[in-house]
Amino acid sequence: MTTSQIEIQLIAAVVAVACALPGVFLVLRQMAMMSDAISHTVLLGIVVTFFLVGSMESPLLIFGAAAMGLVTVSLVELLNKTGLVKQDAAIGLIFPALFSLAVILISRFAGGVHLDADAVLLGELAFAPFDRLDILGLSIPKSLAVMSGILMLNILFITLFFKELKLATFDAGLAAAFGLSPALIHYALMGLVSITAVGAFDAVGSILVVALMIAPAAAAYLLTDNLSKMLGLAALLGIISAVGGYWLARLMDANIAGSMATMAGLVFLMAFLFSPKRGLVAYARRRGRQKWEFAQTSLAMHLMNHEDTPAAVDECTVAHLQNHLRWQPEFADQVLLKAQRRGYVQRENGSLELTDSGRTLARQALVR
């Protein structure tokens, strides 16, 4: 691997982790689409700040853009609070309007500048190593420096306010009762999302910021019930998507950001299908197992009901199961086989007898 290859992967991984961490809270707080809105409207922030500052190099651009993210969130809240439209419609109204404004401003007044709407939407990671910065005598890519700073900020914020974020996310009412302002936490989090989106769009483009914020976090949500673990998993899955996406892009000679989003989607799909506890496959297998367990329990209860009664001779036979429990002959045979193998039932010349463990099974089912 050449230096620039390593650098690109490093930038991609840092971007992925920086996006995944606030993404976890977006997913948990059901505000995933806010990332979509913010990542679009930062364009307007950049345009407006550019008009004010007059330079595309100024570090103020990041703050201007992040401020526009907060403006977007406030406008959505404001519109939502009027009760005239629901929150999703509010998002769908605000961000296209602000984005359109930005596109028009650019095409009307900033035509000559290096500022294209599509550049913001798509990004290009492959060129990132060419834009370098000297820090302490070391030459590192500018976006690596910026994104590392943002990643540090995210980690710092989440570690410092972990308890508060956790409480406000899972029980906003209790958080408010403890004197933590849910609005303050909401806006702090949205500010974090805005800054991250601004920093990341340069590398991966704004639409793919959404992919890196939501997909790894959602995948992690399917894998664990523990917030700390979810944060760690989301970061890990983000790195896998980023590095995997890079190599996919190399393999296909295709756009890196697009490939990273594709990998993020695949990672989510894997979690959706194969998560040990919540995946589709695990779910189907659990349902299958429960079917047989239920049948065995029914069998045990049936046998216990008729044990030591005069009718036992008739009731406790294989043929009778078809009659009484309405089981098909093949199904009854299979249930019996499984029950015998588990040691719940014994077969004594045609009639069925419960073992001790079979009786325990039936009793447990009854008590419950």
Binding site: M33, V85, N255
Partner: protein
């Protein structure tokens, strides 16, 4: 006037305006259902999800004809929506996350395919601009005819399944209890929405298509509580925004139609939020002001009545300063007295004293005691 002349006789402007109007009409009408079902952002996700469909359609057929590309876009859009439904049905992932994932992953996949196809990993040169922002200026008459045909077909289906779609939007459980398959209807409505989106992609592009689904419907919702009227209004607003966007775009240089159409429809929505009767913010503010004033007038009337009751004479006069101390809030009572005088319920006895008239005493009794 020249602008309107151009609208009728200038080929480009006429075509663009007609195309934008068709798009606004169809997406406004069908977007109403999405808004009512709280699926406003579905349009956003669908339009982004269309990209891989467009690229794959081209890869498979090698044709760049709008019809083929539109078909590919539609298939990808529907597939994306079905995936979204599957994820929310079978896992604890909520709708917003599912939307975000489908939107960004499909789009990223499309981007990857497109750059792979062109053997050029630089997305900026991939000709994505058209897809992202639309290119209304390149619309041809036959494109508009295609748009109108598909849009008309979608609207026709909407009318045929009117009753069922209404059930789907307002009471899913009741619909299911009547024996309708709500899942099939959901898929039908989704497909109609996909048609609306796909015919708009060429005109306004992916990013702004979501606004054409949400904004006309949100604006129309403010003016009425009837679904049929709402849909007609939404279609009308969408069409107006389309035509005005196209016209403004023809005026200035470098202004593309898509963003202008979106700004036009956003302005219509904003005006509706402010001015619509019953729901609008300004309307509500005026209502509240009127009822507050009414309350103050009633209070002055009642106070005069209470004061007079202590004097055996219901028409006993009292000084305005007394009434002022009894009034609530920081408001003066002069205006209330003027209103009451106009109504003939109160009269000014001398310089500073006021008394109830017989009609005023009667009114106060009716108001306070009832009957």
């Amino acid at each position: 006037m020249e602008l309107f002349n151009d609208l009728l006789f200038d080929y480009t402007l006429r075509t663009v305006a007609l195309g934008a109007a068709t798009l606004g009409l169809v997406s406004g009408a069908l977007g109403s259902f999405a808004l009512l079902r709280r699926q406003s952002l579905l349009g956003d996700a669908m339009s982004h999800a269309a990209l891989p469909g467009v690229v794959l359609a081209f890869m498979i057929t090698g044709s760049k004809s709008p019809l083929v590309l539109m078909l590919g876009a539609a298939v990808a859009g529907i597939l994306g929506t079905l995936l979204m439904m599957a994820v929310t049905r079978h896992s604890r992932i909520k709708g917003d996350s599912a939307l975000g994932i489908v939107l960004s992953v499909f789009f990223g996949f499309g981007l990857m395919l497109l750059t792979f196809l062109q053997r050029n990993p630089d997305a900026r040169q991939a000709g994505l601009n058209t897809f992202l922002f639309g290119q209304a200026a390149t619309l041809l008459e036959r494109d508009v005819i295609t748009m109108a045909m598909f849009g008309g077909g979608a609207l026709l289906l909407m009318v045929i399944f009117w009753k069922e779609l209404k059930l789907l939007s307002f009471d899913v459980d009741f619909g299911a209890s009547l024996g309708f398959s709500m899942r099939l209807l959901d898929i039908l409505l989704t497909s109609l929405l996909v048609v609306a989106i796909v015919i708009g992609l060429q005109a306004v592009g992916v990013v702004l298509m979501s606004a054409m689904i949400v904004a006309p419907a949100a604006a129309a919702r403010q003016w009425t509580d009837r679904l049929s009227l709402m849909i007609v209004l939404a279609a009308l607003f969408g069409a107006i925004a389309g035509v005005s966007g196209a016209m403004i775009s023809s005026l200035g240089s470098g202004l593309s139609t898509g963003p202008l159409v979106v700004l036009a429809i956003s302005a219509i929505a904003l005006l509706s939020f402010l001015l619509a009767p019953n729901r609008g913010l300004v309307w509500n503010w005026l209502q509240r002001r009127r009822s507050d004033q009414n309350l103050r007038v009633r209070a002055v009337l009642s106070n005069l009545y209470f004061l007079a009751q202590q004097h055996d004479n219901p028409e006993h006069a009292h000084e305005a300063t007394v009434l002022q101390t009894m009034a609530f809030g920081r408001f003066g009572i002069q205006k209330s007295l003027a209103v009451l005088t106009d109504l003939g319920w109160v009269q000014q006895v001398d310089q500073d004293r006021w008394a109830l008239t017989p009609a005023g005493a009667e009114e106060a009794e009716r108001y306070l005691i009832g009957g």
